[in-house]
Subunit: 193 residues, 2 copies
């Protein structure tokens, strides 16, 4: 097991309904030292890619993306889930469903911050059904930017999101892929990488 | 002018209705090198404080808080604006109004991640009327934790938020305080610090 799988084994909590709680270190309380290990590992896995911008989505992707950005020496753009009066002018828009919130969100990125010159690494904390990620990929495509890769912290390998993205030929690097988990025993099995 | 005031002068855009757009470097696209300067400066200004946890609020506070956390060697907890099924159990709750979204939000922090043992630095990107900040302060109080200080990137000095917080005796360090701005001329005047 790698450092993230070990941490999930240690501090992750499996709940009914395929919910994996990692809120003590990943998406509510955030362990910045762990985020640095993640950034370092993504830098290793995307060493060949020429990345000048990192794209994520609010809220829990932002912290991971910002720490990872230090290893790629690139700015971060985060897609917003609701239109704010502080965002004006032309925007890229994609519809995404939220697994956790059971609702549809419109995610938006200002056209000023993604252009055909950009070589983008998408970073997010979770990949399950892949709706959020598909929205981000659509926004990169709308911008005419180059998608160099996708870095995910925790992928739920038993849901379709990751398979679809890999079938589409994208370079997806999930640091931990949960193959199956059991709410009764608390057992978490990871995919061999 | 300090590094942040200079950057706001250079890239900030003043809009009608006292809106200061800093979305090219602070709260949509995020300049991580700038965030590091901010973290370093807060570390300097809070050098006396014994801080073991950083508290912020989603979404645009998270990136700044995570980079700042590297200088304080502390984890970050971010308050969430909407109840998620991934958060269960006891939570601290505060009502906050959003200036940008013109709505009321309930902000919540899991009781697991703030305790009477914590010495907290609150970090956020903006301080205007202070509603979000008051909610975070209330949550620190609910936890019985010690509020060591408050670090803000951009304070709108012509709104009441900062004055109220200083009157209450909190150690508030805003890296840039906008005294007045003019949407017609684009002029931005900062308070001498």
């Amino acid at each position: 097991m790698n450092f993230l799988e070990e941490r999930i084994q240690k501090d992750g909590i499996v709940k009914e309904g395929n919910v994996l709680k990692v809120d003590s270190f990943l998406n509510h309380q955030m362990d910045i030292k762990l985020f640095r290990q993640m950034g370092e590992e993504w830098k290793r896995r995307f060493a060949e890619a020429n990345i000048n911008k990192i794209l994520t989505i609010e809220a829990s992707g932002i912290g991971i993306a910002c720490i990872a950005a230090e290893y790629f020496n690139a700015p971060v753009v985060f897609a917003k889930k609701s239109k704010s009066i502080n965002i004006e002018g032309d925007m890229y828009i994609a519809e995404v469903e939220s697994f956790t919130h059971k609702c549809k969100n419109q995610v938006i990125v200002s056209k000023k911050f993604l252009t055909p010159e950009d070589h983008v690494l998408i970073i997010d904390d979770f990949l399950a059904n892949g709706c959020a990620l598909q929205g981000l990929i659509s926004i990169v495509a709308q911008a005419g930017a180059t998608l160099e890769g996708i870095g995910i912290a925790v992928e739920k390998g038993f849901q379709q999101g990751g398979r679809v993205i890999r079938n589409l030929g994208y370079h997806l690097e999930s640091l931990a892929i949960v193959e199956r988990m059991d709410a009764e025993t608390g057992e978490i099995m990871f995919r061999e990488q």
